[in-house]
Symmetry: C2
Subunit: 222 residues, 2 copies
Amino acid sequence: MLHLHHLENSRSFRILWLLEELKIDYELTRYKRTKAYLAPDSLKKVHPLGHAPILEVDGRCLLESGFIIEYLLKHYDEQQRFKPADNDELAWEYYTFWLHYSEAKAMPPLVVRLVFNKIVDRTPFLIKPAVKFMRRRVEKSYIADNILAMLALMEQHLADNLWFAGESFSAADIQMYFVAVAAKSRTPLGSGDYINVMNWLKRCQQRTAFKRAEKKGGHITL
Amino acid sequence: MLHLHHLENSRSFRILWLLEELKIDYELTRYKRTKAYLAPDSLKKVHPLGHAPILEVDGRCLLESGFIIEYLLKHYDEQQRFKPADNDELAWEYYTFWLHYSEAKAMPPLVVRLVFNKIVDRTPFLIKPAVKFMRRRVEKSYIADNILAMLALMEQHLADNLWFAGESFSAADIQMYFVAVAAKSRTPLGSGDYINVMNWLKRCQQRTAFKRAEKKGGHITL
């Protein structure tokens, strides 16, 4: 039996969406974020690391979006509907690259920006200017360029491909969707520079499994 | 033809090491970091993103450690010496989990700590106290706990397993080696709390392919 522990507005939306695409039975428990925008302690009772997603499989806890996706596809996607076959070389390369890239390169600067903003909000008045100075430095040296490079890479790929794995929708789109939504919250994508990313987002949102996932797990707003 | 672009003290050491394990022919170009500890502009001429590793395959640039590892194993590890077979379920799960975990959860707080330290070093004297205050906040809210949790997870796994995929050495060890060395540079691991991590590090360093990689690409010190 599968049991997904889903934290609102978090990476666990990916697993919820994939479970809906696979049309398999699962139990769902929803968790709300604390005022400090963290996972609640109740999630730590499921697994001490307390990070979403957590997928319980017969009482064992599986962690990490990329791994859980690969696990679910291995065991429940016998027809390979959501992952290119090994002999479909280019699609396999795209799929594998984006599955890793999403968390390895794309998410970290987005998470650091979020952490910084939360800290600036709660900084005492007197030292706020210095703290903002530091935020600008980090934004300049680590965050901004990386996010723009990532968006350019996504836009370029989606100008030539309907989906991240190429011609067909795959779990790489599910993995990258969360990245695009996180980027969109601070970088307006509607200016025309990211028309292909925006159109791909719409294609994702039109899928019936996506709609069912949002209904069960809540709309993602970061 | 394979051509590895290797930046000293970077993730590209992983690919160098794997190429040595696989005993295949490749061309190697080494790059030195700038004074600001960044990749040099010459790496941007190979690929505009300028991140190491970059593996050129017949003129195409492959990026991202996790993806390059999977690519090399798919095409050059026919006997599956460095990746568990699909039907070796537990080993496959371990391998896949650690391959993703290394970059998705383990590296980001280590990178943020590095970015912060570089910024503090170059902060004007007058506002240094406020900037250090912010570093402590980020260290507390995001970095320290995540690094300790990661080390605890590694130590626990290596107490029960010789290698990250279980009984046999695999590319998951190569992927995780860089993480352990990055963590070790700021958190002393020799205290006894991480005896299994330390012993695993030694087992890695004793491999002849590792020694050849260090000889060609330089010793990793972060």
